[in-house]
Every structure is written in C-alpha cells, then in structure tokens.
C-alpha cells in the first residue's frame, strides 16, 4: 500500500466518524469536551455555527452521527451525541451578545427564499452577515416550516423553535409570512439576484383502497392532521385509532393520538417490524406509550356502515426472498384480519409538489417530476434558482436541510459576485499537538467504562395527559458530564513520524485495541488480514507510514482506536503524537484562493 497522505483534507476528518457522518459536519467531539468542562455556551456556539438549530436538533435530529460513532463499535452503544447537543442548548444561558446582529453594511443584492423552513433559514443566516437582503416567503403565518407545523410539541416545545428561529429573524430577515408563492415566473420577474426554493415536501400520500371515499370523514392524511394539531385546529380523536405506516410521521401520529383521546392506538405496517423506516428510538417511545406495532398486514379496505368508519381489513403477508435476494410480500392465505376503529391516520409517505413552478420557467424537471438540481452547488438548470431541503431531492430531515442551506448560500454568494459556483472554497483545517507534559494531554484521555446513560422522561401519566408536555427532560449537568466522558475524542488524531521511530514495539504492546502493527508491506486486502487484529471494517482506513529503518511499514487500523494516547505516552521518541484536528467547514463568504 502507498503511504497515507495525512495532509489530505478528508483523511483525518473521516476518522472523526460522527463529524464525517453529520451532513453539516458539526465538530462533535469538540463540543462534547466543552460540555464536560461545563462550557455550555461555547459548546452551543460551535453547534450554532455548524447546524444553526442546536436546541431543535438536540431534541429531534435524525442523528446519523450516532450509528457512525466509534463508541458503538467498541462497546454496545454510541455516545448520546444528539442529547448532549440539547444540554448545550438547555444550559447555555444568554448568548445573544455572541450572535452576529443585524448591523451590517448592505451589499445591494437581494435574495428571495420560498418557504421559511430550516433550509431557507440557513441560507438567510449565512447570507445576512454578508450584506444581502434576504426576503423570506411562507404560506404559513410564522417561520419554522415543518419544525413548527409537523413535529409534535411533546418532542419539541414551541419556545425552542421561537428562540432559534428568532436568532435568525433578529439578524434582519425581511419576512413575507402568510404569503404563498403561486408562480415562480412571477418571482423571477421581480428584481431578485437569486431565488432559493426551500418549500419542502408538503404532500402526504393517500391510500386508494375500497371505502376510502365513503368513510372519508374519519380518514386523515398524517401530515395534514399533524399540522392541524400543531396549529390547534384539531384537539381530539376517536378512542380507537389505526395509524398506517412505519415511518417517523406514523410515530408522531400515534403518539399524538394517545394524547388526544386515543385509548387504543395501533400502528399497522405492511412489512416487517425491523424494516420500518422509523428510527429505533421513535419506535421504543411509541411502544412505551402502550402502542402496539402490528406488522406484515397489507391494508385491504376501509370498513364502514351508514357512512361511518367502523374498522379496516388487512391481508396477512410474509416476506419471501427470491433468488436475487429481493423481498416480496406474499399473502399467507390466512383469513383477513379486521381491526375495528374510529379513526385512521394515513402516514404512508410524503411527496414533493411544485404546482407553483411553471414548467416553462426555464427549469428542467426529471422523469419523477423533480427539479434537476446539482448535488454540490444546489443550483437548478436555471442558474438564478437554487434548491435545498426537502424540496431538492425529496423528504429528508432537518440536518440535511441545514447542510443544503449552507451549500446553497455558498453558491448564491458566488453567483451574485459573478464567480464560478462549481469552484468551492476549501475548508479551514487546523491540527495541533495536545501534548502538555511527558504524560499530560490537554484532553482527558482516561477512557470511561460507562455504558450509555438514558435521558430521564416525564411521568407517563402526566405526559399522556397533555400534548404540550415535553416527554424527554434532558440530561442534568451530572449525567451530561458522565455521558460526555464516554466520547473517545476521535478528533485527537494519532500522528506518526516515521523518522523518529526506533521500532521498539512500545506502542504495539500498550495499545489496548491492537490498532498498530509493524510489518512487511503488501496489497491492502492481504495487509488487512495480517495485522495484530484483522481489519475487517472496510469503511475504515488503514494509516500507512513508510521510511522505517527495517524497511517495514507501520499500519494502523483506524477502526477501533480509542484515542487514548497510550501509544504516544509509551513512545520514547515522540514518534507518535496526539494532535487535534479541527475542520471549519467552508461557509458563504469564504474565499476560494488561499493566498
């Protein structure tokens, strides 16, 4: 194998599994250390810079970082990264003096954002400090998008939305709320230098089976129902409720139903329990609220009498895999299953809809009727129009909306300055030794043996009684400290200098995880099997260094390194050093040329 180029900007970034997996590349271990140090406001600001909505995300993020977290590979559970983010938000105190403020010299450019969801708000936050005038339209009366209209208040209190949406509003957004855009052409005709479409994926899929029309009064589309609940138009539901669908919307529907009068709420999914789209913790939360999840049942008909819904019938199916390994749901032949109910919530998927974008507005649409959007620049085929969030590539989540917003803001800024949007500014990387003394580091390298701590919950009876009572209470400072200590500090990199190495094996002998091997070089596949422990996780790199006296190579499997620094402590020559790798992701306004 060739020696690893550790100067390459992604190499060490990939080692920080959580940060690499985060769409916005939040510097997770850096903020976790600040939480452990009780520096909540500093931890908050690191988050705010990267992901714009730390309080919201600390409660609701899809947390792609957690399945990626190294801790989950060295013991049972990853670090509770998401809930630590909430700790920063909960205990930060007043941070208003750290925010950019509205007092910025205007640059004369005007940008319109369609929709006031997280994607548009991110664009606004990134562009306002550069002097842009950002006009944000939304059909709803208040900003927040689905954060406000969909996510139930027992998961995300309104005050948190108000606070974090407010920070951006205070930076000088020009709001045009309560104004639905019904023509892109019309908007293009106004004197905007660029248009950002952050209108989300607002249409819930329906289920067209017998009885749908007849029993329509008690059949509701999940996301429409949730927004009616969120805005207070609906405050009760029947005693017996069936929720169709296995995604997070279904979980919000069933849990909301429990709070609005549903005593017997059941979730019914077509496929298997394990294949459900909902995050595992959402399923747990639903089941903890006495909501059974019935699987392998395909809806057959809505049953009704005299125009009133009485129940639903389902066919029982099983998963059969064909020779290509494809799964088919095949009827078992058992009698149909009938479940009586008073209301049904249909949460079987969400779609984009752009009725307001004329097909001759100079924008290409693909065969799925989605706008053609560049995945890096977020630019559509009309150079003046950019997309982001759920509107760009279909429904995702808040953190992706934020990431798209950052990318689009870079593009819009470059576009407005007449620069090539495909050329992207580089990220700012700093790497610095953490050595403080012979065996002293500026981070806590002692590895905690604790398992993941559970976030305390509100009393169930109280929570189920009021849809606005937040279920999760968040970590207190003591639990937060202990959970933060579980983080392995994956950004503190093991950096090897071959010319200092005397090949004494001290690092090999001390390493608790058998990461380090000195051996003859070879092809990667062969080398991976010859190490102190086989390197079977192909998503994790081998760090290769040559230039040793014996002509062997040093091969370090990054996979399960604890970043404990023991290799560096036991190295007599300082050939190993622990260096903090910080990457500041490029934001709008950053320059492309480094000079």
């Amino acid at each position: 194998m060739k020696a690893t180029d550790i100067a390459e900007q992604d190499y060490f970034h990939k080692v920080v599994d959580c940060q690499w997996a985060c769409p916005a590349h939040t510097p997770v271990p850096e903020y976790i250390r600040l939480i452990a140090a009780g520096r909540y406001a500093d931890a908050y600001m690191i988050n705010w810079k990267s992901n714009v909505f730390p309080g919201v995300l600390g409660r609701t993020c899809d947390r792609p970082c957690e399945p990626a977290c190294r801790r989950g590979r060295v013991e049972e559970q990853p670090v509770a990264i998401c809930r630590l983010k909430r700790v920063a938000a909960d205990y930060k105190g007043d941070i208003s003096d750290r925010l950019p403020g509205a007092d910025v010299a205007k640059n004369g450019k005007r940008v319109a954002c369609v929709g006031a969801g997280p994607a548009s708000l991110t664009v606004a936050r990134d562009l306002l400090p550069l002097g842009y005038e950002v006009v944000v339209y939304d059909g709803d009366a208040r900003a927040g998008g689905m954060i406000r209209s969909q996510i139930p208040k027992f998961r995300l209190p309104e005050s948190v939305i108000d606070e974090e949406v407010g920070y951006i509003a205070d930076m000088g957004i020009t709001p045009r709320y309560g104004e639905k855009i019904d023509s892109l052409k019309g908007l293009l005709a106004e004197d905007y230098d660029a248009i950002f479409v952050g209108s989300g994926a607002p249409r819930g899929r329906d289920l067209d089976i017998p009885g749908r029309q007849e029993a329509a009064a008690n059949i509701h589309i999940g996301i429409d129902w949730l927004s009616s609940v969120a805005f207070g138009h609906i405050d009760k539901i029947g005693k017996r409720v069936i929720v169709l669908g296995g995604g997070n919307t279904a979980m919000d529907c069933c849990r909301s139903s429990r709070r609005l009068g549903g005593d017997e709420v059941k979730v019914v999914v077509r496929s298997g329990f394990d294949e459900m789209k909902a995050s595992p913790w959402e399923k747990d939360d639903a089941m903890n609220e006495d909501i059974p999840i019935l699987n392998f049942l395909v809806p057959k008909a809505f049953l009704h009498e005299n125009g009133n819904l009485t129940g639903m019938s389902f066919d029982k199916v099983e998963a059969v895999y064909d020779e290509k390994g494809r799964r088919n749901l095949v009827p078992t032949g058992e009698p149909e299953v009938v479940i009586p109910c008073d209301d049904v919530l249909v949460a079987v998927g969400q779609e984009n809809a752009f009725p307001w974008i004329e097909r001759d507005a100079g924008l290409e649409f693909d065969r799925w009727n989605m706008p053609v959007v560049n995945e890096v620049t977020m630019q559509s085929t009309n150079p003046r129009v950019f997309f982001g969030g759920d509107a760009a590539f279909g429904p995702k989540n808040i953190i992706w909306a934020v990431a798209h917003g950052h990318a689009a803001a870079i593009s819009i800024d470059r576009f407005c300055r007449g620069e090539d949007v495909t050329e992207r500014p580089p990220h700012q990387i700093t790497i610095s030794s953490q050595k403080m003394g012979i065996h002293e580091w500026s981070y806590d390298n002692d590895i905690s043996n604790d398992g993941r701590f559970k976030v305390p919950h509100a009393d169930k009876a109280i929570a189920l009684n009021n849809i606005k009572v937040e279920v999760e209470l968040g970590f207190d400072d003591r639990l937060a400290y202990k959970e933060a200590e579980r983080c392995l500090n994956c950004d503190i990199q093991t950096v090897f200098t071959p010319k200092l190495c005397i090949e004494c094996d001290a690092c090999v002998d001390i390493c608790p995880m058998d990461c380090i091997t000195f051996t003859e070089n070879g092809e990667e596949a062969d080398l991976r099997m010859r190490l102190m422990a086989p390197a079977l996780n192909l998503t994790q790199d081998l760090y290769i260094a040559d230039g040793l006296k014996t002509a062997r190579i040093m091969a370090k499997d990054e996979d399960v390194c604890l970043h404990c620094g023991l290799c560096a402590e036991r190295c007599p020559t300082g050939a190993w050093d622990m260096q903090k790798f910080l990457v500041d992701m490029a934001k709008a306004g950053a320059s492309c040329n480094s000079h």
């Binding site: 590895i447 004494c504 090999v508 001390i510 036991r570």
Partner: protein, 351 residues
C-alpha cells in the same frame, strides 16, 4: 510513567483461548518503566505465550529479584502468584518454592545485573541443579534501575552514554547455562516477538531448567551509538540460527516449511517443537557443537539467537532428590510429621 490505567475495552475481534480468556486477561498493571523499554516487549511476549498455551493463570508463579527487569512481573499475569525477592536471590527463592510445590509453573524473571553480578552464584546453582523452571534474563548490559552503570554482560569495548568504553570481559550467560547443564537454552531479542514468543512457549512446556537470555535495549541508558545492546546494533548483528513453532500435545501438525529445512523435536510432555533452520549446519541437540558455534560467532561480533540447545528428555531436581510426587501443600500433617517413632526408625537406619 503513564498515569491512566489501560482501558478495559479491547478489540471486538480479539480471539479467546480454550479457557475463554483473551490475551488481555493475562495482562498486569500498566508498566511504570521508561517508555520504549525493551523489558515491556518481553512482558508482552510472556503474556502472548501464556495466552496461546492457555495456561490457567493460577498455575504460574512468577519470581524476580531487583532491577527494572525484576519489576516487570507486576506488569504481566496479574492473576498469577508472584514473589519479588531481594537482589540476586530469585533463583534460591524459586528453588525453594519449587521444592515445596512442584505442581506450579515457575517463571523466574531477572536482569543481567541481578543474575550476572550480585546473583551470579545463585543463577549458576539453580541451573546446575536442574530446577524445573523458565529463567528469563532481560539483558540490557546495564543496571537500568540504578541509572545505567555497565553490568557484567556488557561487551568489552561497548561505550557508555558518555562515551566511556567498558574494559571488562563480558559474561555470556548462555554459554554458562550450556556449560552448567541447562536442558533448554535460547537467546532472543525484545524487538523480535515472532522469535521470542515461541521460544518462551517452548520453555514453559519444558520440564527442566530452561534458560532464555533476551537482549532488551535500555532506551534510557544503553540505546546510543557505540552500545552493543541498542536496537540498531542488535538488529544489524542478529544471527538467528532458527525460528520455531510450538505444537502443543495433540494438536494437528501443519507444515509450511520446505522439507529438509525443518526438524521436529518431541518433548517429554508430548509437545513438539518444530524448528525452521536458518543456519542448516546448526544442530540444537549438540551441546558441545552449540558452545563452539557461539564462541566462533561471538568472536565475529555476532549475536546468535534462536533455540540454541534442547534436551528433549530432561531430568530435574525432584528426580535427582527423589522427592515426593505430591506437593507439600497437599500432604497431610501425618505425612509431613510422621512422629517420634518414625524419627527413631530413621535415625536408627543411619547408625
């Protein structure tokens, strides 16, 4: 010195032996030796050897004297018996313990100062008595613990860190062990675990006096240019006569060496030592030949390593003394103190 304890977490794919232990279960406390000390690598090799042989930790007694090397038993086999004796007296304590309980595996760990200076007589007598043990000298050519004075194994002409040469002739413990009748003699290097681990395994299985001289650079006081016990010098002058595999009793033999280059020796307990010859003319069952070979190569400035001598049918001190087959701690009071009548009878037999 490292202040944190070694994390309990280990590699998820770390193998277990048939006792269900991982290699990590054979570790001890975190080393307090200088970072990079060769002795730590020998500790790691001992851990690996005991793991691979699936020895129950409570069946080992580790004994040592004084010195950095003699401190190391704290850093391996944390669940075994241990005795840290006074300087140079490990062999006597080990001999006594062995006499009292022949059922344990005795692992003596010493330094070149501990064994070749103050303990030279003790070393010599434990070997010539054929005590069933593994005796490892972690040989760095200096008194590491007392800050680097030349030891008796330091080669004539070898230079101290300040550049002062050693004028005294070196004691070669391997030659002495051969001459004194050790039945398993090897030399290795802390920086070559591929050779050292099987050498230790063979010694642990050997039922007689097994001696291993392991060159182990002292990074603090004897790893400079001009030293003959530095990492660089040993790597350049290492003349390995063989490599070995240890095949415990009843295991299947898997050969991956060219025929003709290998030699299999079956030890008394049924285990086999498979030698891969690097120097074809070297015969590790020829004691006199081995002594001659060592002297010749030493004169050329080479450090001969490998399994240097093996007597597959060793006898040990218990056999010479015709002692009880049952260890003392399993004998009852009646057997240990048979009473005045028995004493009278015994005395009468001597009259």
């Amino acid at each position: 010195m490292t202040f944190i304890t070694k994390p309990k977490l280990h590699h998820p794919k770390l193998p277990t032996n048939h006792l269900g232990f991982t290699r990590r279960d054979y570790e001890g406390a975190v080393s307090t030796l200088c970072a990079g000390c060769g002795h730590d690598s020998i500790s790691a090799a001992i851990i690996q050897a005991c793991f691979e042989l699936a020895i129950e930790p409570h069946r080992i007694a580790k004994l040592s004297g004084i010195g950095c090397s003699s401190k190391t038993p704290t850093y391996f086999l944390g669940n075994s018996h241990g005795f840290n004796s006074v300087h140079g007296r490990m062999p006597s304590v080990l001999t006594g313990a062995n006499m009292a309980n022949r059922d344990l595996i005795y692992l003596g760990v010493s330094g070149d100062g501990d064994s070749a200076s103050i303990g030279l007589g003790q070393f010599a007598h434990s070997i010539r008595r054929g005590v069933n043990m593994v005796y490892i000298v972690e040989n760095n050519g200096v008194y590491g613990l007392t800050k680097g004075q030349f030891s008796a194994t330091s080669d004539r002409g070898s230079k101290s860190k300040r550049g002062v040469p050693n004028n005294d002739e070196a004691i070669d413990l391997v030659s002495m062990a051969l001459q004194l009748g050790a039945t398993y003699v090897g030399r290795s290097f802390s920086g070559d675990k591929a050779q050292l681990v099987p050498l230790i395994k063979g010694a642990l299985l050997h039922q007689g006096a097994a001696f291993i001289d392991c060159v182990s650079p002292c990074v603090a006081f004897n790893n400079h240019l001009g030293s003959t016990k530095s990492f660089d010098y040993v790597r350049e002058h290492n003349d390995a006569v063989n490599r070995l595999d240890i095949i415990p009793e009843r295991s299947e033999i898997v050969t991956d060496y060219e025929p003709g280059q290998t030699q299999t020796v079956t030890q008394h307990d049924g285990s086999m030592i498979r030698l891969h010859k690097l120097t074809p003319e070297y015969d590790p069952q020829d004691r006199v030949g081995a002594m001659n070979f060592l002297q010749q190569r030493y004169a050329l400035g080479e450090i001969v390593t490998g399994l240097l001598y093996l007597d597959p049918e060793p006898r040990d001190l218990h056999a010479y003394l015709n002692t009880s087959a049952t260890p003392f701690n399993e004998l009852g009071e009646a057997e240990l103190c048979p009473g005045p009548d028995a004493l009278e009878k015994f005395n009468a037999s001597l009259r």
